[in-house]
Amino acid sequence: MSQTLTILNDGLRRLRARKIFWLAMVLTILVAASQATVGINEQGLTFLGYQLDTPMLSTAQMSPEAFYKLMFTNVGLSVWLSWIATILALISTAGIFPDLMAGGTIDLVLAKPIGRLRLMLTEYVGGLLFVTLQVAVFTGISILIIGIRGGAWEPGLLLAIPIVVAFFSFLFCVCVGLGVLTRSTVAALLLTIGFWFGLYVLNSVDSVLINLRAEGDILIERRERAIADMESALEQTAQTDTDGESRMRPRLENHRRELTRQRDQQATIERIHKGIVTAKTFLPKTGETIDLLERVLVSTAELPGFDEDDFSEPQAPGDHSIGYVPQSQLQQRVVAMTRARSVWWILGTSLAFEVVVLGGAAWIFCRRDF
């Protein structure tokens, strides 16, 4: 146990010795504290005491508590912690294994009575300390701000710590694997960022396809309803109004043809999306992992633009609005589809990926001659 603590303590010393660590910490504190400069009231937002008239973002639309929680998840977490701070953390930690495995350094460590696997895993955990400290500081400050300015003490925000650490670990394991394989800090860092970019592209495609599927589902449902309405109307008019029937039937046929085309198109989109989801199953779900906090902290009712009254339904059979999808309805459908993905699928498969990558790195590390 003392060996493990020694390695972790050394990890902390290593961090403290790096300027980038202090730079990242100062920036983290500034970004977290800057949340306090923004406020919300009946008229809209306030910034450093100046009133901004933003009726769409006012206490009429959401509570101060929800506002600050959304600011934390959408800005603090999704932008700062999961992008900028992560890049800084990767830069700071990418060299841990290449440095450890450098000639002369590794000799001193391996000559001590510590197993290679334990050494590697402890160093790995030490690498996660960077992000752990960052996110802990950020979350602590955010809890204070939400408590003081939002009027709600939200200990659930502490979930950000394991979530962000898990998110970072999905990238860090790749960085470690590449570091062990290439023994080059630059190669490990660049290839990890490349991998992350690949995940971003995949997530973006997934997101677009979810939108297309949600939109397609709504359009198909609307057209099916329109067709059902027209068929019902047709049955009634057929007995009384033959002219009306002859006018409606071509339109009905037209709707049926369009529905068939939409279903074909939707099937194609679903097939492609299934492929993307399958690919994602084997890869870390970075985006979904970060979104988990919002899922826990913010209910759909608290999300802006989720007012049921916004949904405009087709007013009459053959209504021209059949091809129009209200944004709020689309957003609700997208959120529903996204949140339908289980936590097990998001975290379980991501952690499985991490175990596999770390296992490969450990296999190389334990068998390599230095």
Partner: protein, 344 residues
């Protein structure tokens, strides 16, 4: 596998092949006794560092039969009883000298209080007390080497493996390290020294092994290894150096002999040197005004001395000469190269 408790290192067959084709070690057999300073010599690429690294679990052997401190080779727990100073050891630059020694002490499972005490003692021993709280980043190579030595001793090991310990250390520091190794021997520690500094090895080692191309070709105490190459040298007086060899040849009544039987090192043999054999078969070499009799037996050298004096030659000196470790090393390596060349 049974192990002799008097041996700190008992290797029966250690082999290492890199990538299935580079044979770094080809079945090393070596014994290091407890409480001695053992020197491992060999030319570059002989496999010295590989052998030490195998014992320290840094390199995985292809085959390893034998024991280190009575436990199988590369037994991780045994490393708590060993100390290791690697060649070109590198420390984290953010650590101070004291932190480095304590850090590696903690990794070697030295209890906290003891490692703090040991760190102070060892930093004093290696002459680094005044830099104890300075960061290693500011240290010279020699200072880093002293820290490396201190960390190797922090767990009070039974067996200390040192790979080029005096590399980069100034002459005063080198002497300090030599003295320290002497103290360690007195304290009953076993020191395994891997060094190119043949003079140092000769000064402090009890036994040595010479490793050439992955095989131990010589092994034994300094006396054992050099005894068979001890010869007597007779220095003549008052002769023209250019003609002295020929005069001595005539006086001794020599017969020509093969050069491999000559007593001196191969490098000393030049075309002007005459080699022959006395009537009793003892090899003799005439090099200017020096006559070397290839025998550790003084009685045989006396025969040559008598003949030279009988011929009226004046003797300036007569002394036994033990071959230096450097001579032995060069002869061993060269002879190995010749055998290899002959085999081709």
């Amino acid at each position: 596998m049974t192990s002799d408790s008097s041996l700190a290192v008992d290797l029966h067959h250690v082999a290492k092949t890199y990538r299935g084709k580079v044979h770094a070690l080809r079945g090393v057999r070596m014994q290091v006794r407890r409480g001695e300073i053992f020197g491992l010599l060999g030319p570059n690429g002989a496999g010295k560092s590989t052998l030490v690294k195998i014992m320290m679990t840094i390199v995985r052997p292809t085959r390893a039969e034998g024991t280190v401190l009575a436990r199988p080779i590369a037994h991780t727990a045994t490393l708590a009883r060993t100390g290791y100073l690697p060649e070109n050891g590198r420390f984290p630059r953010y650590l101070t000298a004291r932190q480095a020694v304590e850090h590696y002490g903690a990794l070697a499972k030295v209890p906290r209080r003891m490692r703090k005490r040991r760190a102070n003692e060892l930093l004093d021993t290696v002459g680094m007390t005044q830099w104890s709280d300075k960061r290693i980043a500011a240290f010279s190579k020699g200072m880093v080497q002293r820290i490396a030595l201190a960390q190797a001793l922090v767990n009070d090991p039974e067996l200390i493996l040192l790979d080029e310990p005096t590399d980069g250390v100034d002459p005063v520091g080198r002497r300090g390290i030599r003295d320290l190794l002497g103290h360690l021997r007195q304290a009953g520690k076993t020191v395994f020294l891997n060094s190119h500094m043949l003079g140092e090895v000769e000064m402090i080692c009890d036994r040595v092994a010479i490793l050439v191309e992955g095989l131990v070709v010589r092994q034994g105490s300094m006396e054992e290894l050099t005894a068979e190459r001890t010869y007597y040298e007779i220095e003549l007086h008052g002769l023209d150096p250019d003609k002295a060899a020929r005069t001595a040849w005539t006086a001794l009544g020599c017969e020509p002999m093969a050069s491999s039987e000559t007593p001196s090192q191969p490098e000393a043999a030049t075309p002007e040197v005459l080699r022959g054999r006395l009537s009793d078969g003892c090899g003799v070499e005439m090099d200017g005004d020096r006559v070397r009799v290839a025998s550790p037996d003084p009685a045989k050298a006396q025969v040559a001395l008598d003949r030279l004096r009988a011929a009226g030659l004046v003797i300036r000196s007569f002394k036994p000469v033990r071959q230096s470790l450097e001579d032995l090393f060069i002869e061993t390596v060269s002879s190995n190269n010749r055998v290899k060349g002959g085999a081709r």
